[in-house]
Symmetry: C2
Subunit: 419 residues, 2 copies
């Protein structure tokens, strides 16, 4: 009788684990996700800035397993995980039993103990959030065009991005780019190019995960795009009309959150040891200490490699962990010993505006246009299973050559900003 | 000093009028719309059935006039039109003065005095409605997959489309098609092909605007796709769990409205003579009787041509009226006489499922695959100004050859149907 493996979450890690398990042998896999689509998160900022359509970076989870009869996909939200009874209960009341469990719930935004900031400063983790940011971004220009009062117009044309990591950098660069190249032709009363884009980073430099010279490079590229890069600028307050940095006040109607992340709240329901970011402390084989049949991977897992430190919260790491967890499950079923997970660092990259980026992998460091080409190539390459990989590429070429954006839609009927 | 022409609504008619005016001479044009995009409505059902992305059939209105310095685009909702003082006031309080007015507010759904039906049976006029229908359609299959009770499962897999006009026929055909070809591979517990699709028409035949043999043909094609076509079936009740046809009850969780339309409620604010569908009775030159500087076009206009009858509510008619209104305005400014509008009948077509259609233009009548090719060609051709015309075509070829649907997204976080 085939073992039942339950995979919670169909992000990079969960999807990879389910694929490897489905191919690997005599198991039945159930994939549970609260959404019907897998999301290519690295390109989410492109949806938020009207460069791509939601469907360009999302694929139905079911479609990934059409040809895998031993995989069930179930749309639902996990309410609780019972490691002892080996059960997972969904919010709709159903209970799912498992022999092996892979928890891959990913990360969510952390507002550093200020949940009330979220409504004023949406984050960028889901398609809904991306289209909401797109709506606010485009609506701000529309409202400014209709606004007679110059001061109010300024506030509408001031965009604050909180957090100088890759997401914040890519968002800030894209917003500066769209306002200076795409929208500039379309308005009569306002000059979109005069839009003020601020990137606020609490630490001493943006992109701290990158080498120092690369983050300096990125900051210069951002400034060249017209982004005001502010480091050592910790936000102390956010409301509907602006942000506070200690005593300083910045009036802005559009504030986007790209700062802290924490593990999915699912981790707390496990009742096991977590780190400060809510990640589960896992053993070298990615299983939960004391629960050898329950694995945690991706942004929910905290794994310290001897001499090599913490495995970073990146897509490649999640994919590798998904594969490794599947391998260890299949090994246990076959009575073979498990292998400790070993992270192969593929490097990191971040894009700045339309045709610049930074990339580092081991000793190799790229900047500028060359890095952007590398970024483009790798992201197109990794849009595996996304039928519209080519259409995505075509849309980029289009927007790159003609400075147009195909997805400039405000599809929320009430397009006005809350006043 | 250039005359001010105010165009209300950027549908087919309003956009065409604004284009012709902008090109035509010494006028300043202001286009007001409550949305930031022009919508290619004939393909809306493709978005509702996950065949196309919203951005594929919508273009930013501003982008249409980037190179027309004498055209202003203003996002806003018209609260009232004052024909006497020649003013239009927007909901945000601003007043716009005009020398000439073109009212092109289009049509909205009519629930025959049962507005309470709308929440249970959304219509298909906007992108929001299309994605809402897409969400309900895809969520119904997901809920059915999770539903243990066979009777409840049946209700979830029963789809009722009310109204046998082109929209209803295209929607019913596409839903039957997606359930039998696209989704059929993806589920384990349910058989999507067993989904029940009903098309309810109150009149004696579907597509009454077409020749009788063509609508018979369409009905046969629909039945071949597995659609239950019911004529002389007037809906007398709609709630969250089904529809009533007189004494008969049909249990269904998904009901979509494609029946009556009426002119935009804007027409009532004009204080002029309307027909029973709320359309403005216009003179032969498309102006409002007694208000020679105010024109009404498209689905809001009621124009009876001598010997030829009522101009139909079709995109080609709206486009022709937009051109004609613009010409008459420019004529008046130049002191030339106006010309009465004359409708050039381009014919009609409706598509049934993935590769069948019916078309009639004058004596010519097409059915089946040939008609579908004609339909495809004309719709691609008319996606003028839509940069993604080719990508749309590519997506059709894709879905036609591989029976896939690229846009199968449930992007409303709460994917469950209201219970």
């Amino acid at each position: 009788m085939a073992k039942e493996v339950l995979v919670v979450g169909a992000g990079f890690g969960g999807l990879e684990a389910a694929r490897a398990l489905a191919a690997g042998g005599d198991v039945h896999v159930t994939v549970v996700d609260q959404r019907n689509h897998h999301l290519f998160q690295p390109l989410l900022y492109q949806v938020a800035t009207a460069g791509l359509n939601p469907a360009d970076i999302a694929v139905p989870i079911r479609a990934q397993f059409s040809r895998a009869p031993n995989v069930d996909v179930r749309l639902g939200r996990v309410a609780a995980v019972d490691l002892g009874r080996k059960r997972v209960s969904l919010e709709d009341g159903t209970e799912l039993a498992w022999d092996f469990l892979v928890v891959a719930g990913g990360a969510q935004h952390s507002y550093f103990g200020h949940p009330e900031w979220e409504e004023f400063a949406p984050g960028l983790k889901t398609l809904e959030q991306a289209t909401e940011i797109r709506r606010r971004l485009l609506s701000a220009f529309e409202s400014a065009e209709n606004e007679p009062d110059p001061a109010a117009q300024r506030r509408l044309l001031t965009f604050v991005i909180v957090g100088g990591g890759p997401t914040g950098v890519e968002l800030a660069g894209a917003i500066a780019d769209i306002s200076r190249t795409v929208l500039v032709r379309d308005f009569r009363r306002i000059d979109p190019a005069s839009a003020r884009v601020l990137l606020l980073e609490a630490g001493p430099r943006i992109l701290p995960a990158f080498a120092e010279d690369l983050s300096r490079h990125a900051a210069e590229d951002l400034r060249a795009l017209g982004v005001e890069v502010r480091t050592s600028a910790a936000v102390t307050g956010i409301d509907a009309h602006g942000v506070s940095i200690g005593g300083e006040r910045i009036e802005a109607r559009s504030i986007f959150w790209a700062a802290g992340v924490q593990a999915s709240s699912l981790s707390r329901s496990l009742g096991v040891e977590l780190d400060r970011a809510g990640r589960v402390m896992v053993d070298a084989d990615l299983s939960i200490p004391g629960h050898p049949d329950a694995f945690v991977i991706g942004d929910m897992a905290h794994l310290e490699e001897p001499e090599r430190g913490l495995v970073p919260g990146l897509a490649p790491a999640a994919i590798q962990e998904g594969k490794a967890a599947a391998r260890n499950i299949l090994a246990s079923i076959a009575g073979r010993p498990r292998k400790p997970f070993r992270y192969r660092d593929k490097g990191m990259m971040a894009t700045i505006g339309k045709h610049r980026a930074i990339a580092q992998t081991g000793p190799i460091r790229l900047t500028g246009f060359l890095a952007w080409l590398a970024w483009l190539f790798i992201h197109i390459l990794y849009l595996i299973g996304f039928k519209n990989r080519l259409s995505v590429f075509a849309q980029w070429v289009w927007s790159y050559v003609l400075s147009k954006r195909g997805a400039r839609l405000i599809t929320n009927r009430d397009w006005r900003l809350p006043s």
